[in-house]
């Protein structure tokens, strides 16, 4: 039958295929050293945004896939527990991506008219990392939450193919 012929053409040994693709892998462009966010730059960014306050873990949930099929578009939903009343609400939510070239992903300004402290967006992630979200509350406290993710195809830095 015609179909069967197509599926049996020119069998390539797995070993040869892997060898050739391994060679192609050598052409991945690597970032120069020092071009990534570090623990220090992340801490610096946190200090810049929330000052000297210590974030308290809890009260902030991140919904992030455990494995990113592609780092170019990773869905993220952040929910901060808060009644969102004029007296008690979330002022801002900051998102940090410590495994990326730049440590801060976004800052969302909510306020009393937000109704619900929940944001959904799509991130670009360069490699496997822990995403951190800080929620600044109206009483001056800061709550935090994290989620870890494995990124198999990184964004930002993998320019293997010419497009």
């Amino acid at each position: 039958m015609k179909c069967t012929l197509i599926w049996q053409t020119a069998r390539l040994s797995r070993r040869t295929l892997l060898q050739r693709l391994g060679a192609a892998g050598m052409l991945v462009v690597l970032r120069p050293a020092g071009a990534w966010a570090t623990k220090e730059t992340v801490q610096q960014a946190i200090r810049q945004l929330i000052g000297a306050r210590e974030p308290q873990p809890g009260g902030v949930t991140l919904r992030l896939p455990k494995i990113a099929e592609t780092g170019n578009s990773v869905p993220l939903t952040i929910t901060a527990d808060s009644p969102m009343t004029p007296e008690d609400h979330v002022l801002r939510i900051h998102v940090f991506v410590e495994g990326n070239p730049e440590p801060v992903a976004a800052t969302y300004h909510l306020g009393r008219r937000a109704g619900k402290a929940e944001i959904s967006t799509r991130l670009r992630l360069a490699r496997s990392q822990t995403v951190l979200a800080l929620a600044e509350m109206s009483d001056g406290s800061v709550r935090s939450g994290t989620a870890s993710i494995v990124v198999t195809l990184g964004a930002c830095v993998e320019e293997v193919w010419g497009n």
Partner: protein, 288 residues
């Protein structure tokens, strides 16, 4: 080190732990019930003219996506490809020529006039004496009927119109014609598919027939079906056509790509469309 996670959609080799498992009568009965329900579901789907994502041994790229990306494709708001559908809709009604004509002048409401069109392209065109694909047909209409300049291949305008027209056939099964005058071009497309090329000396068939479902470093190789094109591809972070995909694949095996719109790519497009016969049009699909 953490063991590599097993992804549910990857067709991995059978796990030895299951080899010695005994199947109880209860499990058998449950399987029969589930199978019966699935068949009924499939039957209902076919009766409603919409095609399932898997037809015989042909699998749409949708079946190789993570749940998140499947949901993104199905989201009638957030699918980024819809931005091009909307732009295409605007272009459809835009008078853009000395004659003051628009696509709508001849074709009216695209929902009716363009339904089913995507399922038949590319096809043999007697005027050209060779195949014509959807992009070329749109440009032919512009030049000959509207006295307007053709859109460059892969321009935002041509992508938008192609996606808008493709969108009108969403869910309908691909059904290209490969006999009669189209036959030699179909055979040329098949030859291209089977031909080794590039420094890596690989043919399309090696990845997409032989290794479909298996891992390529961090990725899973699909069957390379084209029923979802133009696709919103995360690697490109934008929408792209079939020919852009062919050029990307050629570059990936270190072969010089052909120019977009080249005859060999249109022939290949027909062969690949035939390979995916029966699969639903998913334009605009979301892919990695």
């Amino acid at each position: 080190m953490q063991p590599r996670p097993r992804l549910p959609w990857c067709e991995s080799r059978p796990d030895r732990r299951w080899a010695s498992a005994r199947v109880s009568a209860r499990v058998l009965v449950s399987l029969v019930v589930i199978l019966g329900a699935a068949c009924t579901g499939a039957g209902l789907l076919l009766a409603g003219e919409l095609s399932p994502y898997t037809v015989e041994d042909r699998r749409s790229g949708y079946t190789y996506l993570s749940e998140d990306n499947q949901r993104l494709q199905d989201d009638d708001f957030a699918n980024p490809g819809l931005l091009w559908v909307e732009q295409g809709r605007a272009l459809w009604h835009q008078a853009d020529s000395t004659t003051g004509m628009s696509c709508a002048s001849c074709h009216g409401d695209a929902t009716a006039s363009m339904r089913g069109v995507r399922t038949r392209y590319p096809h043999f065109d007697s005027q050209r004496g060779k195949l014509i694909n959807l992009e070329q047909q749109i440009n032919r209409c512009r030049e000959q009927r509207m006295q307007a300049l053709p859109y460059p291949y892969e321009s935002e305008t041509l992508l938008a119109l192609t996606t808008f027209v493709g969108w009108q056939s969403r869910g309908l099964p691909m059904h290209v014609s490969i006999d009669g005058p189209a036959q030699p071009f179909f055979e040329a497309g098949r030859a291209f598919y089977m031909q080794r090329r590039g420094q890596l000396d690989l043919a399309c068939t090696h990845c997409h027939d032989q290794y479909a479902g298996q891992r390529l470093r961090g990725d899973v190789i699909s069957q390379g079906q084209s029923n979802g094109f133009p696709i919103y591809r995360h690697t490109w972070q934008t929408l792209g056509s079939t020919h852009r995909m062919f050029a990307w694949c050629n570059t990936s095996v270190r072969a010089a790509p052909s120019p977009l719109g080249a005859d060999e790519y249109v022939n290949l497009e027909l062969f690949v469309a035939w390979r995916g016969r029966g699969l639903p049009v998913e334009t605009p699909a979301v892919r990695r």
